[in-house]
Amino acid sequence: MEQIISPIALYLICALGAGGIALALPRRSGSKAFEYGGGLLVAVALGGAALALGLRASDAGNPMPNLFFYPFAIIGIGASVRMITHKRPVYSALYFIMTIIASCGMYILLSAEFMAFALIIIYAGAILITYLFVIMLATQAPTGDGDDDLDDVDAVAREPMLASAIGFVLIGLITAAMFGGIGELPEPKLTQAQAADSVLAHLPKKVDKILDREGLLEDGWRVSRDHETGLAMIDVDARTIQIELVEGDSVSATRTLGAQDWPEALAADNIDRLGFNLMNDHPVMIELAGIILLMAMLGATVLARKHTELEEALKAAQARKLGTMFHDDEPQATGGQA
């Protein structure tokens, strides 16, 4: 496959975006015009990127992404630009939530539904709220709405030109390298049906339930299980299912359902496949993730603990009080020790 975006358009877009961000980054002297101008430049660059990608794809007759991709992408990138250019930390965090939600939209378009909702719950619901609390805890409240009363920490960026230039050179290089090699990606090893249904053999109870719901099983029938592995006997390629009649502990009859009986609803969904992949292929990583989270929790507790220093007189009074509580009968001795 040829180039997906023409190099000149790509570098032009990167230069525009770099200029826009460098203008929009916080500064003390500038008026609002800098911010608006920078935002406009970034918007033009984004529009140009969408146009260039779309034109190239339709030129060559290649399929384009789902139409919903474009609003999600533009909201995502726009919100992340606003996040790094906004002067007030709370707004930055809120714009980051917007970025998260836009990328959740893209996850759904990439048929990763579980991850999309997990991302909203974990990122937007938990992590970002922690950030918001810390921002409110650690920032002195500004006295007015203007930007003049903001601290230098928030109101001035460090080396905006240089950083934007570096960042956008990086975007250009990554994108060019990626788009150059994208045509040489290997074909997926599994076919579509295999990828979707290869998990089904491991889920005999789910298959039972679906077949039962579709009315394909009479009383006492179920999907045949392999004696040694316990896998359901399903042929995903030929679309046949072997079922058996169980009486007591023994199998008294078997039958094969043909491809014409394969129910529409019999398919492994996103959560089946993800859960199976997680538990079957990466069990050690679950343990590692648990250890990382535990260590982080301990570390955070130790780091954020407040060291309170009591005065000596206060300590002595406390000790004396405790002493009289525990040794009511000999107050003289404890008083002397304290």
């Binding site: 139409l67 539904e113 991302l119 922690t130 650690a138 230098d152 997926p188 992949n277 997680l278």
Partner: protein, 124 residues
């Protein structure tokens, strides 16, 4: 026509989306572009902002971009490995947020400032 079809696809619920079809690399490319752009914007933010909380927020943005690339490539290969790795990225991001915020609170208590340049003497 294209617009109408995609609206139908989006509106007809998750059932259709549950069976991924093979994805052309011309569909993959825009997702990777968004991912690269988000990553580099996070990098620019990390380099330019002085507020330590915003700097850590920018690293979260870079995690997010990496996650998008993982999911897009995983979709291209019709496998679940990409999504599994995003779960671990989420774990690391959560751990990092906890540690980083504890550190920020600690540093803020010492200097009464969130500025990274308040700790200039650390650069040796």
């Amino acid at each position: 026509m294209h617009a109408f079809e995609s609206i139908q696809l989006f509106g007809s619920g998750m059932a259709q989306l549950a069976f991924p079809t093979e994805m052309s690399s011309s569909v993959l490319a825009p997702y990777l572009f968004v991912s690269a752009a988000m990553f580099c914007i996070g990098l620019i933010g990390f380099l330019t902002r002085k507020n330590m909380i915003i700097m850590f927020l920018c690293t979260e943005l870079m995690f997010q971009a990496a996650g998008l690339a993982l999911i897009a490539f995983g979709r291209q290969h019709l496998g679940s490995d990409g999504q599994t790795f995003v779960i671990f990225v989420l774990c690391v991001a959560a751990a990092e947020a906890a540690m980083a915020l504890a550190l920020v609170v600690l540093l803020f208590r010492h200097r009464e400032s969130l500025s990274a340049s308040a700790w200039k003497e650390l650069n040796g």
